[in-house]
């Protein structure tokens, strides 16, 4: 593979890379994906990762390209290596910007030298790290080959050698400063006696355990002050050869010099990698505590044709992150659609996990579309052309007429845009009208969705929708078998019954048959 073939670690086709302004999809807030992405990208603002998380991929191959990279990154040594690279590049950038800002010429030049040295070490470290692990992904194999060529190039080798030598020479410089009154003498160092040590030795016999530290914390600005600057100038004059070499180095590599801005940029392909690989690192870092808490993630089997989707032990990622932080258990659910089935209708007790289940359904599909591991043991998912969500908008609650109208306007827009390749998620529609109205409207809407053959999920209090047609599947949120007062947040495939509500209420007030007979009998 030649250097030309590798271009991006995120896009098999780099022309698909989103522009700088890629807004979040409309459904982000409804599905709480905004929370997930905010948490994933936290602390990584400089890499501007949001456009990548906001842009679903269009082809199965583009998704597979990312899956491969994620699978390679399952090797901790590789993650560590790439993380070290990112850290090195960040510090290189910081160093160069510092070199530009400082005032004293030999400070600027030293920062420049050290930054280029760090660049070499960083690139070399990544190149070597990639050769010590088995890589299966097209992305990382391409990068490895690219780096092998780059680090063997004469230009890179020369830069590396020069920085090494120059640094060693500068590190060897020792000097003495003698201060008396206003006068200062800068001289070569001749191994004069360490007087602080001698004082400490004299009083060592009084030692009673560890001493308090009486050293002053000097506020060390990065700049030299005017005395330090003069000392530095004189140290340079005491060592003309070393500092002459530093001047020459800066001239050769676009470093700081009189009337000259810094003009070193490093390799552009590596700079792009540095940014894009953060997409993987950020997501994996986000998963770590969740995995430690026993939650599973998987690479789903994707199809752009089959709507026979299924997932085992999946869950709402945003909610799971909160629960794990609080040390609480996370309820997981399964779903599957077979044959003609297209729409899951979820009914059951309030607070029973219905909305969470709908979100989880939307999240797995969206996360799958950006090529990242999704919540669950196993999943077979559909690559849609677009995902639509309809959740209640709280701000309109005080105007019920307005709300129903708003509902209908939004649903109309969804149905106008959706195709047979779309996913539609509806949560508690038509709660703002009478039951008869709601039933009638819901039937209308459901008929449209069924006709479109879109994939979807519908959370509703209308049990009647659960048996709408052969294309709908009934799912019910459940209560514990031994204690109906306890909600399990588990949603299972089962006909809607409506009895669950009554049992929960009866139990809560101690009015079930068994309880009531005992209470009356005592």
């Amino acid at each position: 593979m030649s250097q030309q073939s590798y271009r991006s670690i995120l896009f098999v086709d780099p022309t698909q890379r989103p522009g700088a302004q890629a807004p979040a999809p409309d459904h982000f807030r409804d599905l709480n994906l905004d929370q997930v992405v905010a948490a994933v990208t936290a602390g990584r603002d400089e890499y501007d990762l949001n456009p990548f998380f906001h842009t679903p991929l269009r082809t199965l191959d583009a998704i597979a390209y990312r899956h491969e990279v994620f699978q390679d990154l399952a090797e901790p040594a590789l993650v560590e290596n790439v993380t070290a690279f990112a850290r090195g590049m960040a510090r290189t950038r910081e160093g160069l910007s510092r070199a530009a800002k400082l005032f004293h010429a030999y400070q600027k030049k030293r920062w420049f030298l050290d930054s280029l040295r760090r660049y070499c070490d960083t690139v070399r470290g990544l190149a070597e790290g990639l050769t010590t692990v088995d890589l299966a992904s097209r992305g990382l194999r391409g990068l490895r080959d690219y780096l092998a060529e780059y680090t063997a190039s004469p230009a890179f080798l020369a830069l590396q050698a020069e920085t090494t030598d120059l640094r060693a020479d500068l590190d060897a410089v020792r000097y003495c400063v003698f201060i008396r009154g206003h006068r200062v003498r800068v001289s070569h160092y001749h191994e004069e006696d360490d007087y602080g040590w001698r004082v400490a030795q004299t009083f060592a016999r009084f030692r009673q355990g560890s001493a308090r530290d009486h050293r002053t914390t000097f506020t060390d600005s990065l700049d030299v002050d005017h005395v330090e600057g003069m000392v530095l100038d004189l140290v340079a004059r005491l060592h003309p050869t070393v500092f002459g070499a530093l001047d020459a180095f800066c001239e050769r590599y676009g470093g700081p010099g009189p009337g000259r801005p810094i003009a070193f940029a490093g390799d552009p392909v590596l700079a792009t990698f540095d940014r894009e690989v953060q997409f993987y690192l950020a997501y994996l870092e986000y998963l770590t505590p969740l995995r430690q808490a026993g939650l599973a993630f998987c690479h789903p089997e994707m199809s752009a044709i089959s709507k026979q989707v299924a997932a085992e032990q999946t869950y709402d990622l945003a909610l799971a992150a909160k629960l794990v932080t609080a040390g609480r258990p996370v309820v997981r659910n399964d779903f599957h659609l077979t044959g003609p089935e297209r729409v899951m209708v979820v009914t059951g007790p309030n607070q029973g996990g219905k909305t969470t289940f709908a979100r989880a359904f939307g999240q797995v599909h969206y996360l799958a579309s950006i090529g990242v591991p999704v919540p669950g043991e196993r999943a077979r998912l559909f690559l849609s052309d677009r995902m639509y969500t309809h959740f209640e908008r709280e701000e309109d609650l005080d105007n019920l007429t307005g709300k129903l109208q708003d509902d209908l306007v939004r649903i109309h827009a969804i149905l106008a845009g959706a195709t047979e390749r779309s996913i539609i998620i509806m949560n508690e529609i038509f709660t703002s009208t009478t039951l008869a109205d709601a039933l009638w409207l819901a039937h209308k809407v459901m008929a449209r969705i069924i006709r479109l053959d879109s994939l979807g999920i519908c959370v509703t209090f209308l049990d009647e929708l659960a048996s709408f047609s052969e294309k709908t599947v009934s799912m019910v949120s459940t209560v514990a078998a031994d204690d109906p007062a306890t909600l399990t947040y588990r949603v299972v495939r089962r006909p809607a019954d409506g009895v669950a509500y009554a049992i929960v209420l009866a139990q809560r007030y101690g009015l079930t048959y068994e309880r009531l007979t005992k209470r009356v009998a005592r």
Binding site: Q107, I179, H182, V184, R185, W197
Partner: protein
């Protein structure tokens, strides 16, 4: 340089034990009265005695008293030092005063804000000059008493002082204190760190060549360059002083650290000699009213010794004008002492005196008895009947058993458990049954138990099953009903003497 008067080979840990069980021991054995006497206070008058109550001495006394030694050799080490102290009480007071003067020397030296190496150094120099005076006095005191003391503790301390603080040493110290004023300039070495900033600043001893301001020309590179800050360049002067501080900082740290160590030495000396001063105070009080004391015989933990002659409650005698009644114990080989008998007949007093003597012995002190020989027991814990829990969070028996369980967490073989009316917060049958289970479990596990009880069911059943390792004692009462306050061997009797008390109160 260490005082090491409490341990031959280590410092004492000055942190007082503080936990509910320790607090209970202090309360149950009335150790605060003992401690107050050691601190020089007189609880009878509520006014201060001649030496005055010293909170510091009280804390030291409490800390050491409750931190039992487990090795007879360590106890012997302290007993020897204590013997010297009782023979030379003047030495003890002088050492204590000197240590105190050393610690307070700091207060006489102006500290300023102490944020700059220069001020830290000047402060340390002044302070060190003060310490040198106190250290010289300490040396002289040691010289004066060498040969008069016999304990390894004092002998070694005085030898150390003579060796470490000789005249040459004081001369060297004074030389440093002069040079550290840096009147002839400061020499610092450094190398270039990141960003060409100087790092690894190290203070160096200047030689005469540094002080000659002629720039010399070598054969190769120049060896030095000079510059000067203009008189009116205030920023430059500040920057120069910062640079100078980098070097001075290291000397300031070294000298200020040395001051800390010397102060810590005086602090440790004050703690250690303070304990013995407390012993001298207590000894004066007890012998002053004619009560006997003795240096006890501490037997190793695996022995089963327990015998006493004229054992009395030191806290009690400190609070009453008359001498108190002593008891004899002949309990070698016993693991359980059951004390029964008349109310207010001296049972609690006996229990307290056993606990006090045990702890005082294990602190290296004399004990309130004419003779005391016992195995070392650690820990010493108490379980006394308590008033109702004020917070009402627990029922009475619940509270009692909770405390017993806390104690059980702490007990281990070889411990001493002093029980006073335990298991009495429920009816006799239940209390006795719980008591039997607990007492048998403890003694079988190797804990020595002294049980004061009026639960006859419990006492009687223990008597019925008693082996040679159980000793039964009974508070005595004369035929006319008056008490002797002496406790003597005797089996439990079915009636308590509550009616006597009733008669006494309702007469």
């Amino acid at each position: 340089m260490k005082a090491h008067l409490l341990f031959q080979d280590r410092d004492v840990d000055p942190t007082p034990a503080s936990d509910p069980l320790t607090d209970a021991v202090i309360q149950d054995l009335e150790l605060d009265t003992l401690v107050a006497a050691m601190a020089g206070g007189d609880p009878r008058s509520h006014s201060q005695s001649s030496s005055g109550h010293d909170d510091f001495l009280a804390e030291v006394a409490r800390t050491v008293l409750l931190d039992s030694l487990t090795d007879p050799a360590e106890i012997g080490y302290r007993q020897a030092v204590l013997r010297d102290c009782l023979d030379h009480p003047g030495l003890v007071r002088q050492l204590y005063d000197l240590a105190l003067a050393g610690i307070t020397a700091e207060r006489g030296v102006y500290g300023g804000y102490l944020r700059h190496p220069g001020t830290i150094l000047r402060h340390a120099i002044d302070l060190m000059q003060g310490y040198v005076v106190h250290l010289r006095q300490l040396r002289h005191l040691a010289d004066e008493h060498t040969g008069r003391v016999t304990s390894p503790g004092f002998t070694e301390l005085f030898a150390t002082l003579a060796r470490q603080l000789d005249d040459d040493y004081f001369h060297t110290v004074n030389q440093h204190l002069r040079r550290l004023r840096f009147e002839r300039g400061v020499l610092i070495s450094a190398r270039l760190g990141p960003g060409s900033k100087g790092v690894d600043y190290t203070l160096r001893s200047p030689t005469s060549t540094h002080d000659s301001w002629r720039s010399r020309l070598g054969f190769g590179d120049r060896d030095s360059y000079n510059f000067a800050i203009a008189e009116r360049d205030e920023a430059g002067a500040r920057a120069l002083s910062n640079l100078r501080d980098r070097g001075v900082d290291l000397a300031a740290d070294a000298l200020a650290g040395a001051c800390d160590h010397i102060r810590d030495f005086f602090r440790m000396l004050r703690i250690e000699i303070g304990f013995y001063l407390g012993c001298v105070n207590l000894h004066d009080r007890l012998t002053g009213k004619g009560e006997p004391t003795c240096l006890p015989v501490a037997e190793p933990p695996h022995s089963d010794a327990l015998s006493a002659f004229g054992l009395y409650d030191a806290s009690l005698t400190l609070r009453v004008p008359a001498q108190v009644v002593g008891n004899d114990l002949d309990a070698d080989g016993t693991s359980l002492l059951v004390v029964t008998g008349a109310n207010q007949g001296g049972k609690s007093t006996l229990l307290r005196s056993i606990g006090q003597a045990q702890l005082m012995m294990q602190a290296g002190m004399f004990v309130p008895a004419q003779y005391w020989r016992a195995r070392i027991c650690t820990p010493v814990l108490t379980h006394y009947r308590r008033e109702e829990d004020a917070t009402m969070t627990r029922g009475k028996l619940d509270e009692e058993l909770y405390r017993m369980s806390e104690i059980a967490d702490r007990l281990r073989p070889g411990a001493l458990m002093l029980c006073n009316e335990s298991f009495a917060s429920t009816n006799e049958r239940e209390g006795s049954e719980i008591g039997r289970q607990v007492i048998h479990a403890l003694t079988d596990a190797g804990v020595r138990v002294v049980l004061v009880t009026h639960l006859h069911d419990l006492a009687q059943s223990l008597y019925a099953q008693a082996s040679s390792s159980t000793l039964f004692l009974r508070a005595q009462r004369r035929a006319d009903g008056t008490r002797t306050f002496r406790i003597e061997p005797g089996q439990p009797l079915p009636t308590s003497y509550g009616r006597d008390l009733y008669a006494d109160v309702f007469r």
